[in-house]
Subunit: 199 residues, 2 copies
């Protein structure tokens, strides 16, 4: 009854796992719930993956790849730094507003990784990845527009990551779109004020 290759089953199981985790939370994404979501019998699980750990690793890899390519795609260079930053930040924020559950899942997986033996480095790698992507974004835009920053790029990148990450988290919990958008606008303007023409 080989209706589908093991590779395709693996892909579908990872997708199903993400669906279940997004809908019901990481803790409820049991092997049973995942195979049920993928409409496969339970026994399938362990000839597609050696263990549940192996599946979760692939889930985290997939989620991270999505997040990074999202940030990459958000680079939106316009005529001025202010406009470029605003466009990029708004692109990100749009995604948060339309896909809150996806962002919530990344927070959950970070926590999961921080506690799960065998995933010790994963949370750190995840945040280093975000920070690196943001740093590259700032460098890229500085080069294209021939500007420099008043603050060291690592500090500026950390600042942006802090605001974006912190605001995403508290918006997921509290809502309050007007205040959240106001904070984001204020920070965008403030950061644009830290830019100098390259001499």
């Amino acid at each position: 009854m080989a209706r589908m290759s093991a590779d395709e089953r693996r892909e579908r199981l990872v997708e199903a796992a993400i669906t279940v985790m997004t809908r019901d939370g990481v803790a409820r994404a049991t092997t049973r719930a995942i195979v049920a979501e993928a409409e496969m019998p339970l026994g399938v699980f362990h000839y597609c993956f050696a263990s549940k750990k192996e599946l979760v690793e692939q889930v985290i890899g997939t989620i991270n790849a999505h997040a990074v390519s999202r940030v990459m795609a958000m680079t939106d260079t316009r005529a001025t730094f202010r406009e470029s930053l605003r466009a990029s930040v708004q692109g990100y924020w749009e995604h948060v507003l339309t896909h809150p559950a996806e962002h919530m899942l990344t927070y959950e997986l970070t926590q999961y990784a921080l506690r799960q033996p065998g995933f010790e480095g994963v949370a750190r790698t995840q945040y280093e990845l975000y920070l690196g992507t943001l740093t590259a974004f700032l460098d890229d835009i500085a080069n294209r527009l021939a500007v420099t920053y008043e603050l060291p790029t690592p500090v500026l990148a950390r600042y942006l990551m802090t605001v974006v990450d912190g605001l995403t988290l508290n918006w997921i919990i509290l809502g309050g779109e007007p205040e959240a958008a106001a904070v984001l606008d204020h920070v965008t303007d403030h950061v644009a004020g830290l830019v100098r023409e390259r001499s």
Copy 2:
């Protein structure tokens, strides 16, 4: 063998639960692990608490009370707004640096509450509490020093909460004290620049 009142047992079990959650994570804080930490037999649990849910509610209540009284105590009014804000923020940051596990637990409990049926409102209440406390802090300091803010207080409070919460989270995961402190200093200075003498 009544060596201790049921009330005292309850208190000790809540303490033990916090110890286990801080050390091993919320998911590993099982009734068995908690009574073992408190050095009590398993059967004790269910005549002290009707269910595990009841214990977790008390744990969250205790943690929140700690957090709020910490923010209250951090209000540190000096001669100028800048100095007051700096002193208060440094007081908070000092606590993060010396008690990271405690702060990590609050993030874990927030996630737990967001997913656990019966705790739907708890995460929101928690963040509203933080935001309210920060707003009160800003109002208080504005009154004492007879100043106003360029931004509406709700937006400013949200901005501060975002930065403080986001930075705490990414410092727990990434470390990098110099950059984190630089971000905090920068934000403190920036916010101090948003203050006007009351006319």
